[in-house]
């Protein structure tokens, strides 16, 4: 196994902040540069303090870390595989592409890492009830799963529009014993589901934990959610060293709130030779106004407890986001990403619906893997990164380049949307109706 390059070994990509030997890993919060913090009602501060205290003690408790390790291995199925995608890579300038297979986890995405950790913390705090927000239903299903496993009551808030579009995920959550409450106020989407969950939390905080689904929100959520997803980056780093003997040239992930991304990025933040890319939802295109490219086009502001980049108008009102991928359809982003963007450690770029769907189909047909549409944004980005890497190097050197893509989830949930997108259904079929409604995301 080759030694990982140390800071300063690759002067072409060493950034100033790493030259001083400052580590970007394990940033504890509450602040990431000028981002993060606690922009929350006083009523909830005591609960955030209790959560922070419980989390800090749990991290240092071998019994807790052993519980997490056991659940990760024997329940979620970790470590997830690192799969080389050779036929897909032919379309990406001929570089080598490896997929971090979070799609193979129990419940089909990275979300399980975080919900198990937080549900265990809820038990430690003596709380009997968890609440969660969900967009397409992935985090809601994961939360309902963890609650069933650990014997907790679970209530999931979901925009009424999303409930209708994702009726099967509502059924899934109910099968798992959760109660799904459709949210009919505001834009009836993910951000309004978060608002409603916060209202529930403030009224029931004595026995309720808010199981937030992404690395955003008030401290300690961003640092805590990242902690539970750091296993992705740690595994990926060890696996690529084992399989190829060296670190990758680039790591790619999709960004909604940014939890899968911060999880895999964390493993490589202190490796200056590794370029890191976050791909935001470009929707219909960043010049159309219909997108969710928060870092690319947003401005710093405060929403849902943290200071971060935010899609907002001149009055500071939140703008509704748009993406074919419900999991990326959020007008905010985790504060650590805002910081990593500002210092230049991570490059954030938009990927349109159309680019993502092309990558979706390409992975299906070249590798026999149906990716989540969220993850397809990272795949589309990896194609661009691969082509750039190939163009930079001398002829024949592309095959020496290595790119890791975080395949954050499987695409079974997206088949109706994809079938509609690619016009694969009879016009009158029930599936066509579902697909049509799903496609209006």
């Amino acid at each position: 196994m080759a030694e990982a390059p140390t800071a300063g070994s690759d002067e072409g990509s060493v950034d100033a902040f790493l030259q001083g030997g400052t580590s970007l890993r394990h940033a504890p919060g509450p602040y990431f540069g000028s981002y993060g913090g606690r922009w929350m009602p006083e009523s909830l501060i005591a609960a955030l303090d209790e959560l922070e205290d419980t989390f800090e003690k749990a991290k240092a408790d071998p019994e807790f870390t052993a519980q997490i390790a056991d659940l990760n291995k024997n329940y979620s199925g970790r470590p997830s595989l690192l799969t080389e995608a050779k036929r897909f890579a032919e379309h990406a300038g001929g570089v080598r592409i490896f997929l971090k297979r979070e799609d193979l986890n129990h419940t089909g995405s990275h979300k399980i890492n975080n919900v198990l950790g937080q549900a265990l913390l809820a038990k430690r705090m003596g709380k009997s009830r968890v609440i969660a927000e969900t967009g397409a239903g992935q985090h809601g299903v994961a939360s309902a799963t963890a609650a069933a496993l650990l014997g907790l009551e679970c209530v999931v808030y979901m925009g009424a529009e999303d409930c209708r579009r994702q009726a099967l995920n509502v059924a899934r959550m109910e099968l798992l014993g959760a109660t799904v409450i459709p949210v009919t106020n505001g834009s009836q989407t993910l951000k309004d589901a978060i608002n409603e969950a916060l209202r529930d939390w403030v009224a029931n905080v004595g026995h309720t934990h808010y199981l937030l689904g992404t690395a955003a929100g008030a401290h300690p959520f961003p640092a805590m959610v990242r902690y539970f997803h750091e296993v992705i980056g740690e595994e990926a780093r060890a696996q690529i060293l084992e399989q190829t003997g060296r670190l990758p040239d680039a790591v790619c992930a999709c960004i909604g709130g940014g939890s899968n991304a911060i999880g895999i990025f964390h493993g490589f933040l202190d490796d200056p030779s590794v370029k890191i890319y976050g791909f935001e939802a470009g929707g219909d295109g960043v010049d159309t106004g219909r997108h969710a490219a928060t870092i690319t086009l947003g401005k710093p502001g405060v929403l849902h407890g943290a200071r971060s980049y935010l899609m907002q108008d001149d009055d500071g009102q939140t703008i509704e986001s748009h993406s074919i991928s419900a999991g990326l359809d959020y007008p905010g982003v985790g504060p650590e990403h805002s910081y990593l963007a500002d210092i230049g450690r991570v490059s954030y770029e938009p990927i349109t619906d159309s680019e993502a769907m092309d990558a979706f189909r390409l992975l299906c047909r070249t590798e026999g893997i149906i990716p989540a549409i969220e993850s397809s944004h990272a795949l589309a980005g990896a194609i661009k990164v691969g082509q750039r890497l190939a163009a930079e190097g001398a002829a024949g050197e592309a095959s020496d380049k290595i790119v890791i893509v975080n395949l954050s989830g499987r695409g079974d949930k997206d088949v109706a949307t994809a079938a509609e997108w690619f016009d694969l259904l009879d016009k009158d079929s029930a599936e066509a109706t579902i697909g049509k409604e799903g496609e209006q995301l």
Binding site: G37, R38, W39, M40, P41, E42, S43, L44, I45, A46, A47, D49, N185, G186, K191, D192, N195, L198, R199, V202, A203, N204, V205, G206, K299, P300, G301, V302, L303, H304, L310, Q312, D314, D315, G316, Q317, T318
Partner: protein
């Protein structure tokens, strides 16, 4: 530093009663009607007026206020219009007029610029439901610069240490949240409210006003027995929704009957 809110509360205190604070969302149903209702509030017994800025993500508000602010936004309410409302009311009345706002609209305009314009409009200060003193450095500086009141919230869940810190950072009065929950009329006032007021006073607060779930004269009387001021929101929003400024005037007269300490 003189505080418009403190002066208004002390005036009520000198009259042997608690102060009445009434909330109205700006731009609901129109900017003009908010001004008219604000004037009606002041002329019928309110000592302080709280003008809310409609916001896209009002996490501390229940259904009635959400519906009102959503409607105001749908009709095109712009944040700068809150200064027109404040100026419109202060031009006609002696009431202290505060603005209640979620923090992002202030951040977007610039904390200093927002404060400057609020002071220029004759505003007394800000009530900030999602800003805690820990994050308020910019607002502390701007409110000092422009002589504005800083009304932070304390809750039944606030620790002794947080209570002390919040009281210390506040100017004008401290807003005691009566219940763990969001805005909205309730059938009875939470028993927790009196404890929150006592804790805030023990932490050094000179003036503590109670809000959340206060909707009628009986509630007002109950709170007036131990607090310096009583804050009414949802009931007034329902009044302006159903009967305009006249209904606001009538409800304010009813509410103010409960203020005198027995």
């Amino acid at each position: 530093m003189t505080s418009k809110s403190a002066i208004a509360i002390d005036k009520a205190r000198a009259e042997g009663r608690a102060a009445l604070i009434g909330y109205l969302p700006a731009g609901f149903p129109t900017v003009e009607e908010t001004i008219a209702a604000g004037i009606a509030l002041a002329r019928n017994g309110a000592d302080l007026i709280e003008i809310g800025i409609p916001y896209s993500d009002p996490v501390m508000d229940g259904p009635v206020i959400q519906a009102a602010t959503t409607e105001a936004l749908a009709k095109g309410f712009a944040v700068r219009q809150v200064f027109d409302v404040v100026a419109g009311i202060t031009a006609e009345t002696d009431a202290a007029v505060l603005v209640m706002t979620y923090w992002n609209p202030v951040v977007r305009m610039g904390v200093d610029e927002f404060s400057r314009r609020l002071a220029e409009a004759g505003g007394a200060g800000l009530i900030t439901p999602d800003l805690i003193p820990d994050e308020a450095a910019e607002w502390m500086a701007a409110s000092d610069k422009y002589g504005l009141d800083r009304v932070f919230l304390v809750a039944p869940s606030s620790s002794t240490e947080r209570m002390r810190r919040t009281v210390e950072a506040s100017r004008g009065f401290v807003y005691a949240v009566s219940i763990m929950g969001v805005t909205g009329a309730r059938s009875s006032v939470s028993a927790a409210a009196e404890g929150v007021v006592a804790a805030a006073k023990a932490a050094g607060a000179e003036r503590v006003c109670v809000g959340l779930g206060v909707s009628n004269a009986e509630h007002v009387a109950e709170i007036a027995a131990y607090a310096d001021g009583v804050i009414v929101g949802t009931a007034l929003v329902a009044a302006i929704r159903d009967g305009g400024a006249d209904a606001v005037a009538s409800l304010t007269r009813d509410l103010s009957a409960g203020l005198t300490r027995k």
